[in-house]
Symmetry: C2
Subunit: 153 residues, 2 copies
Amino acid sequence: MDSAATTSDLTDHLGYWLRLVSNHVSQAFARKVEARGVTVAEWVVMRQLLDVEVLAPSRLAERMGATRGTVSKLADRLIGKGLAIRSPDPEDGRGQTLSLTLAGRTLTPELALLADQNDAEVFGGLSARDRAALARILRSIVDNRGLKAMPIE
Amino acid sequence: MDSAATTSDLTDHLGYWLRLVSNHVSQAFARKVEARGVTVAEWVVMRQLLDVEVLAPSRLAERMGATRGTVSKLADRLIGKGLAIRSPDPEDGRGQTLSLTLAGRTLTPELALLADQNDAEVFGGLSARDRAALARILRSIVDNRGLKAMPIE
DNA sequence: TATTGTTATACTCTATAACTATA
DNA sequence: TATAGTTATAGAGTATAACAATA
């Protein structure tokens, strides 16, 4: 590659390419979900709630790799849109739980289909072999680095 | 993979893994440059200016894939930190040019080294073969999708 | 005292659109 | 009228820290 004396070129960085593609994927997805009236961060919350049905804000924050304050604000927005509800935890007077409304449970799988479609658009041009290699390499970085936060897709 | 009837799983999406890793790379890099008093977006501007020495804000916006307003604000911050200067274009009364100060020209290669180090930390656990495959696959997505914006790394 | 959740505050990043000065 | 640049405004995303209620 470069000699040691050469100033490193920004475009030589793998992180550069990763971010370029990742930004593109996320922005394309953001445009798709925007038409359904939600943001990408809101989608992540909805997707989590669809799986577990009922979840404490603090658990959700851990799963998303976000702070409790961030989750509180996202929950406010989803509640304002009629997609989620907040209820007191019957077993702990301090606790709250979040869950999807019927509208939220209906919308979430539709958003998941948009994510499928987005993936197909961006990665569909790759060979099946390259898609598999990309998935394997990304997962190995996740394992190596001990990542566990849920990103905003 | 999944049967057609199964709700798509968020973690099945390649975009999910891409974003998880990309966010991690960027956040790790942001922490490194923060210690030098600049943000990631500011670094991208500095790196561009180091290459071309003098650049109009509108050219910079094109290269970065940002709006002129965004560049204007980033330039303000760099100027405030004594890292860049703004000068009138002698050939066009409407035009301005941006360039690095001596402090900026000194700092930029140091930031590039941090980017090298960040890449090494995140991707160093991969085999050389996998690093090459990742670079090739990412570039092929960039080509397929006609991406050309400079991302913020 | 520790924990849960909310709220207050602040900052980065970004975009759109209005505005100013020049061409 | 068109272009270069700045400024105003807005909103997403995020974090830290203060706070209230409960354990």
